[in-house]
């Protein structure tokens, strides 16, 4: 769920940009370090970013018939770890704003914080906590939580910007949560299933590529993915 261009008041837009900036700078440093160590990471990260962008062109058969699409941040965070995802997610959001008119430049900071920072960290945290659980469960929970955390954060950002005159922040939060729950909750479930299918298909078809993934992202991904 991207906040549209110009939707947030200027102070909020600037504030969220300031909040998101350190994560993105940290991510940029991670990527720079990665590319210095292995020059091929540049192309692989570019391909992964493009994949995330293209995922947003995949319309999911959502319950409400609306055009929800997967955010891809959950799987990305599991595969690449959240810091790298923060930078990749930022570039993807920029591409979505400029190539699909989805999201915006002034609301980029707010969208980066919910979609590329908080969602991935929450999803990745759950995935790590469920290390002992079957892989499918860990991936499903990780991806679904990344989606839900993103949606709750966006609703919170909107509620903070537009508190209800009578019931205040809480009333407003409940309303924004309610209005977007119709599309976002089924989306989280469907994307969780899709994430499991994606990882399962990758395990059966793409052994060498997954080995490459582990090398780029996190050394223990390969062990976890293959052995679990």
């Amino acid at each position: 769920m991207h906040i549209a261009e110009g939707f947030l008041p200027p102070l909020h837009a600037a504030g969220w940009t300031v909040v998101a900036a350190p994560f993105v700078v940290h991510g940029a440093r991670e990527v720079r370090r990665l590319v210095r160590e292995r020059p091929d990471a540049r192309l692989l990260l570019g391909a992964a970013g493009a994949f995330t962008f293209v995922l947003s062109a995949l319309k999911l058969p959502s319950v409400t018939g609306s055009s929800s699409h997967p955010t891809g941040t959950g799987v990305g965070a599991i595969v690449f770890r959240p810091p790298v995802m923060a930078l990749l997610g930022t570039v993807v959001l920029l591409f979505q704003a400029l190539l699909l008119a989805h999201g915006g430049l002034t609301t980029l900071g707010a969208n980066v914080f919910s979609m590329a920072v908080l969602g991935p960290w929450a999803g990745y945290g759950c995935y790590r906590l469920l290390r002992r659980a079957p892989l499918a469960v860990a991936v499903f929970v990780g991806v679904a939580v990344a989606d839900l955390a993103t949606y709750v954060t966006t609703a919170f950002q909107l509620a903070l910007a537009f508190p209800d005159p009578t019931s205040g922040l809480v009333g407003s939060l409940a309303r924004f949560l309610g209005i977007f729950a119709v599309t976002q909750v089924p989306l989280a479930v469907v994307e969780g299933i899709l994430g499991v299918l994606l990882v399962r298909a990758l395990r059966s078809w793409a052994g060498p590529e997954l080995a490459g993934l582990g090398r780029v992202g996190e050394p223990d991904v390969r062990e976890e993915t293959v052995d679990a």
Partner: protein
Amino acid sequence: MARLAIDDAAWGNRWRTRSTGEKALLALGLLLVAVTTREPGVSAAVLVVAVTCALAQARVPWRTYLRVVLAPATFVVLGAASIAVTVGSGTGDAVWSAGPVAVTEATLARAAEVLGRSLAATSAMALLATTTPLVDLVAGMRRLRVPEAVVDVAEVMYRFVFLLLDTLATVREAQASRLGYGGGRAARRSLGMLASTVFVRAWTRAQRLEDGLAGRGGTGSLRTLAADRPVSVPFVLVSGAVLAVLSTWSVVG
């Protein structure tokens, strides 16, 4: 080859040969004015300037431009409707009410303000998106000292987006022609396979590209020669004047 309407417009409009800097100055300036203003008149003026520049000057196809401006419509309308409605007691000046739910003049005014701001800001952003190819903007970021590694990743991404959209369309067609989307269960399975095929293709293509580059001794960044586009002084002066007038109007009110 897969195409995106905005990208097509960005490569084919009359402002294609203008320097990235001057287009960014005008569009981002308009965007800044649109987001910060509280005057409905200024919002309307930004909208008029952006639409005039895009359609009359740059000759962006009006369908593309309209689609860009209306793309976030669902979100904006839902969001604005949610702002207009208030729940709870103490709604004295209700314009409309049903039980605990009410629409007051204050909330209605705020929703209208958000609608106007979104529309004006989107039209300004659309001016940049439909007149400047994304690669030009990425090259501009390199000049603004964004880390080289980040710019490289963005450039590779731009190239891969179109390759992957092609793969996506082809695989999807093949699945659909085998009734892969016939039912809910099959559709979910097909989607999982589609996503993973596209992922594996992206991955192997990136590795092949890397092998090809490594074989030619390429280790550094993938820089290309940018066309020399001098900044047009009249364009900058006129843009500056328009922005000055709009921001003064916005501040003075």
